[in-house]
């Protein structure tokens, strides 16, 4: 494992077996991870993107010692997740989130107190640490209310509080802002950023591209159990053919026009989509070679043409990669 890597995953495969049927039990095998390779630098926020069922949670569970891989190796902080769980568990924070995973009949403070004991936080520090994390996630005023009275956002905050209570060196956040209102989601992102200043390495899975763009300098896209891309955001942009995108819309285009666009210098990809009577062409391109004026010129036969240029977003990158993988 390289010196600055907090996570290193090699050829990781995970197969799930389930049984169905009432009289005759049939075994169904699902390959959730199909040879994943990944490396996460220490002290960074690493984003793991992917559609539902891509294998993100499976990977997080393996890295956080909650699931064993079928084959391959995974090291966290230089230690094997299958063999060195005793060493790793006190150093790992895991936030799976959701409505479950908390003792709902007791209050937040008691939930944290219980896990503080399970993590061996020194008794002399326990209450101070609990107060500190409750303040950090803005739950101090609700700390003595039963968790079952909490909103989804408050539960999510409590999940995070529990995840950071023992001051882990590495934190796994599985879709931390899912289901949160915009204000709570923003607060959560702020909290995540602040953790980095404390030196925590964070692996974050998310569906929200803007969130990944805002938080994660480095990303991996997981699709159907494979890492289809692993790079910095600029790197990913160039990977899908450029950091700029031009969208042109009109009532249908001729094939020759599309071919002409493809032939323009710097244009790496032209995708076509139908929107009712209109067609949208999306061009990925590198900066500074071809501009909007060149595209307009190529499509001059369309007086109804609307055209706009923007920066290629992580969402564009993500959709291109997932589409590519699917095809």
């Amino acid at each position: 494992m390289s010196d600055d890597a907090a996570i290193e995953v090699r050829d990781l495969v995970r197969v799930f077996e389930s049984r169905k049927g009432f009289l005759f039990r049939e075994v169904v095998r699902t390959e959730a991870l199909k040879g994943v390779n990944l490396r996460v630098r220490a002290g960074s926020i690493f984003g793991l993107l992917g559609p539902n069922g891509a294998g993100k949670t499976t990977l997080v569970k393996i890295l956080s010692t909650l699931l064993l891989p079928t084959s391959g190796t995974a090291q966290v902080l230089g230690h094997d997740v299958t063999r060195e769980t005793d060493w790793l568990r006190p150093r790992i924070g895991l936030v799976l989130g959701g409505e479950r995973g908390l003792y709902s009949r007791i209050n937040a403070r008691e939930n944290l107190r219980y896990f503080a004991d399970l993590y061996g936080i020194p008794v002399s520090e326990r209450e101070r640490r609990i107060t500190e994390v409750l303040e950090r996630v803005d739950l101090s005023s609700a700390a003595d209310r039963r968790v079952e009275e909490y909103s989804r956002g408050m539960k999510q905050k409590l999940h995070i509080a529990r995840g950071i209570l023992h001051r882990p060196a590495i934190l796994f956040l599985d879709e931390p802002t899912i289901g949160l209102d915009p204000k709570s989601a923003r607060e959560t992102r702020k909290l995540v950023r602040s953790l980095i200043q404390d030196g925590v390495t964070i692996l974050l899975t998310t569906h929200y591209m803007f969130e990944a763009e805002e938080l994660c300098p480095e990303l991996a896209v997981l699709s159907r159990g494979r890492v289809v891309a692993h790079d910095t955001i600029p790197g990913l942009r160039s990977r899908v053919g450029g950091d700029r995108t031009i969208e042109a819309e009109a009532y249908g285009f001729e094939d020759r026009e599309v071919d002409a666009l493809r032939a323009l210098p710097g244009v790496s990809k032209v995708a076509s989509e139908e929107y009712g009577p209109r067609t949208r062409l999306t061009l990925r391109m590198r900066t500074g070679v071809t501009g909007v004026e060149h595209v307009k010129a190529a499509l001059r036969e369309h007086p109804e043409l609307t055209i706009r240029e923007r920066r290629t977003s992580v969402e564009d990158v993500y959709l291109d990669l997932v589409e590519e993988e699917a095809s």
Partner: protein, 268 residues
């Protein structure tokens, strides 16, 4: 902020788990109802059924109903709490914590022992009221010591039941199906010696069988049981409990490994 891995203490984990069990019980006190009603019913049923069991029928009734009641709390309760961890979704974070789950289970068992003893006390009260007086106990001090020891033996089996609940979400069904078989097998209400001979070695695999036989020896004059006296029973109970305690750690380790392999911790 990072890091500082705290020192995990088994005792502290056990105490934390016991505390959580108390808090959850207090948050949902309706559990008091079955915890109290079941012993009353068991007491009355056994009082009726044992009427013709001779001069010491009261002791039989108290022991039998007390065991039924304590079985429910100590064994069933301990496993059920783990099942609840599955339902609440707290099994995953608990297993993921550095504390061995075995000690979380131990904390719950301690609480269930307390509730079980309360149930035993209720049974005693009910039977005494129904009979109009307490039974004659030849050696009350030894009775109390052995009674507490029976709880320990039940707890040792309870640990393994809890392991089954970690292993599979279906443990509750399996336990329901096997409940009366266990009552029969451990001689909870009647001496195992009454059963066909071939069943006796199986029954002796369970620590409560030994402990209950010892308890009957010291509380029912003329009781023959297995015929080897309460001292041998006590040794058997201690040894089998020690074996259970010894293998509990290994079993939990294996079960934990198994659930991490199959990935069924979040199923309920």
């Amino acid at each position: 902020m990072a890091l500082a891995a705290g020192e995990v203490s088994r005792l502290r984990t056990t105490v934390a788990s016991l505390r959580l069990a108390v808090l959850q019980f207090m948050a949902d006190p309706q559990w008091l109802v079955p915890s109290m009603i079941a012993p009353v019913i068991f007491g009355l049923v056994s009082f009726e059924l044992f009427r013709g069991a001779g001069p010491y029928f009261l002791t039989y009734a108290i022991l039998g109903a007390g065991m039924m009641s304590m079985w429910g709390q100590t064994l069933y309760g301990s496993g059920w709490a783990t099942g609840q961890d599955r339902v609440f979704g707290t099994l995953e974070p608990t297993i993921q914590s550095p504390s061995p789950y075995l000690y979380v289970v131990l904390g719950r068992i301690l609480w269930n022992i307390v509730i079980g003893l309360v149930g035993g006390g209720i049974v005693y009260g009910v039977v005494v009221v129904a009979a109009g007086g307490p039974p004659a106990l030849p050696n009350p001090a030894l009775f109390v010591v052995l009674f507490l020891f029976v709880m320990v033996t039940l707890a040792s089996v309870g640990v393994l039941f809890a392991a089954a609940y970690v292993y599979t979400r279906y443990a509750g069904f399996i336990q329901n199906i096997g409940e009366f078989a266990f009552y029969v097998g451990t001689g909870c209400m009647f001496p195992v010696i009454l059963l066909p001979f071939w069943t006796n070695p199986i029954a002796l695999l369970f620590p409560p069988t030994w402990a209950l036989d010892a308890l009957r020896y010291v509380s029912i004059p003329g009781y023959t049981g297995f015929g080897w006296g309460w001292q041998v029973d006590l040794v058997g109970a201690v040894v089998s409990t020690a074996v259970y305690a010894g293998i509990a750690g290994g079993i939990f380790h294996r079960v934990e490994r198994h659930v991490l392999e199959v990935g069924n911790l979040s199923e309920y």
